[in-house]
Symmetry: C2
Subunit: 456 residues, 2 copies
């Protein structure tokens, strides 16, 4: 075991960054069927890079949608086996007009790389490939047995993962999983994450009349679908911003005093946060701090609403249909399928007069996830981070969802350690997503250190 990888990473920084840009030019948007070919191209591209990094086995595990890029490098029966998780698909880039430079033309500005997926998750996951390449080129092989599991459906909720992990249980067996999809608390503050939220998603469709109608002739008497869906949507929360869907909180594990103390230790500057996101006030469930809400309280979010005329000018129409999309962020013991059933029951119960409503569940529901703070892989990660930064490592949680985290736990019995460099101001899922170039360096280095530290 040598440390020559340091020089290798320094010498190849420009090459590795150019490769990342090439990766980011592929618009692998899993939510939009028009981009199916791009999603597949991204899978092919990253598989090639894994071969270049020395993996003797690289293959595609097929799913109903997008393949998993899988690789395996067995070096020693006496070493532990870790599986690195990431994803090669990205979010849609809209609204396009808000991007300063095109989302699929990666651009460097002020020490950051701007592109859709720059951070989430191409930048983060690709850094692990380069770390292993560095170990291969300098040591001949990684210090532990490594598997790679890069999926292509994370941004649509990982609908294929459950059956695939179940089917390939033996192939995927490992001591634990390391997630290259996740975040650091702040730019110069190392942290590890001990939980992520679950996800339930559905679309609510409301219909009134048989067609759109003239608002002057019919508007005073015929139920307006947009107005009706507004009435229904307004029933999802009460004045304390608590969710009013009956049964929604029934299985929620309440925060303990110890949980609340842990969360309170994490620095939080509300004014700085408001300024960063550009709002004059926060809004959330009464009785909880912002970090408690973001990390450990469930939400029901309307992600989109549309109905009636949306063009320029005026159209005097009484619309006959309207739609909205909901995602819920869930906390331990909430069951996503049950939550969608409760939402559907709520919509039927509160369906406005003269309207009919249907609720379509989306695939890719995810259970919430958590890992014990005593897990050895987690402790090693904390040691590496403390060594790199010379700072105490915070124990945090994330409000986002990594659907496979809970799945690996359930199906393989393998916990997941988040070891990744996503930052709150990276603009994930938003226009002008970016990745700090210093984090690309740190992450390549961090993975070399972590894999070496895991070796017996």
């Amino acid at each position: 075991m040598s440390f020559e990888w340091r020089a290798y990473l320094r010498d190849n920084y420009d090459t590795h960054l150019d490769e990342l840009k090439e990766y980011l030019r592929i618009p692998s948007i899993s939510a939009l069927p028009d981009h199916n070919d791009d999603v597949r191209a991204a899978a092919d591209w990253v598989a090639g890079k894994l071969r270049d990094a020395g993996f003797p086995e690289v293959e595609f595990i097929s799913t109903d949608r997008n393949p998993i890029v899988y690789a395996h490098w067995h070096v020693d029966d006496n070493q532990p086996t870790v599986m690195i998780y990431g994803h090669y698909d990205v979010q849609p880039p809209d609204p396009l007009e808000l991007w300063e430079t095109p989302p699929f033309e990666p651009t460097e500005r002020d020490g950051r790389l701007y592109a859709r997926g720059a951070s989430d998750d191409k930048g983060n996951s690709f850094a692990t490939v380069k770390a292993i390449e560095a170990l291969y080129k300098t040591d001949g092989q990684p210090p532990v047995n490594v598997k790679i599991f890069f999926e292509g459906e994370e941004e649509i909720g990982s609908p294929s993962m459950a059956p695939v992990i179940r089917e390939h249980k033996d192939k995927l067996s490992c001591d634990f999983v390391i997630s290259a999809d996740g975040g650091m608390h702040a730019a110069d503050q190392p942290s590890v994450t001990i939980s992520s939220k679950g996800l339930a998603a559905c679309q609510v469709n409301l219909k009134t009349a048989a067609t759109d109608l003239h608002s002057g002739v019919h508007g005073a008497n015929v139920p307006n679908a947009v107005q009706s869906l507004v009435e229904l949507a307004a029933t999802f929360h009460d004045d304390n911003h608590r969710i009013t869907v009956e049964g929604f909180y029934d299985n929620v594990v309440d925060l303990t005093e110890s949980d609340r103390e842990d969360i309170a230790k994490v620095p939080y500057d509300e004014d700085a946060y408001k300024q960063m996101v550009g709002v004059s006030a926060l809004k959330g469930e009464t009785g909880y701090t912002p970090n408690e809400r973001a990390w450990a309280r469930p939400t029901l979010d309307i992600n989109g609403f549309w109905g009636g005329f949306q063009g320029d000018g005026v159209k005097t129409v009484t619309p006959n249909e309207a739609h909205l999309k909901i995602t819920c962020r869930l906390v331990p013991k909430q069951d996503p399928a049950e939550i969608v059933r409760l939402i559907e029951a709520h919509c039927q119960k509160h369906c406005p007069v003269g309207a009919t409503v249907s609720v379509d569940p989306f695939p890719g529901q995810a259970f919430p996830f958590s890992i014990s703070r005593d897990h050895p892989g987690l402790k090693t990660a904390m040691n590496v981070l403390e060594d790199m930064y010379d700072k105490d490592v915070l124990v945090t949680r994330i409000g986002g969802t990594v659907p496979v985290a809970e799945l690996f736990q359930r199906e393989l019995g393998s916990d997941m350690v988040f070891f990744s460099w996503g930052l709150p101001d990276n603009g994930m899922h938003a226009p002008n997503e970016s990745y700090r170039l210093v984090d690309f360096q740190r992450m390549r280095e961090g993975y070399c250190r972590y894999l070496q530290a895991l070796a017996r």
Copy 2:
């Protein structure tokens, strides 16, 4: 004065219908800037047809947007002068996927002609041109002095009409105006209309954060623009479907007992109506009958709402902006500009925490209109209709807006008589708009009779 026009209309029915189809193929959508050339093409086309119908003077009166097609035929100083009003612009056709045949490819089915504008207002207004052509070809000229005023901005609320009518006051002077834009109560039930509603229109824009945000990271704390606009939109009405905008009803002229008796005389079958529009229940202001609501009570209608992700699948986003469009149908003494000001004040007062809201008024606001039941032009129209149908003529009102009706009254001192054949089931402003072919025949005939009856 002869009645040879009858034979002429019979002999030329196919030709006239073919010409109407040609007219309907021009997608003269005034609300969509991309169709400016089509709007102009429709103006040119109908001007040509007025020349063919014998009008010695045909010209365009220019406006800031779309020209008025104006024509004048002075036949005799001792005869009254009437001005026929109509419009050559049409509504947008969306949602396109609900049309059984393309909106701008007129198609005959089951005794109806299907196309955008088939009824509103190309079919109705073009019938008047053909009636005058028939009088010209058989009698050499119409029996009274006739002016034509076909505008191209009716479907966007006639924004240019006020300054144009004011500027051309002398040219447009007439004893009264006949509107070829308006309706009959039912297919075989003649009626005249004594009032129309006014219109106020605006767009409400709501903004929260600087960009769309990841719903897992930020959704529990950052105000969601769609959710916030839902909360705001839900404040526009109370549980009795009365409008809660402060001051909205202040100037409304309440219905008298006599008004309510008149309205009650008009047959109304609620079940048949519900079946026609395809709803299980009606919804409107408590304390009024459906016809009272539609004809004599003001409304606030949300015509469209959009914000956040609207594509296929799931996007876990906290949207940062959302929009809605409002039109209000107004009754006598309500002032459209004042109503928009009241709506803006309401939106500011009820603006949800952490959001900012702006209200953009749309041009083309219209005052409500009414005509005395003793007007001589109205009485003649009723006589002609009674003669044609051998039935009592109902006195009705319309919930729709004809912005120029009140304008002609205010600027020229000329009342407007509605003499047109729009029917409730013509699907105006909706997919599959149609025009009964028998009404095309009746309307050509009706105008020949009416103009002859007006001659001294």
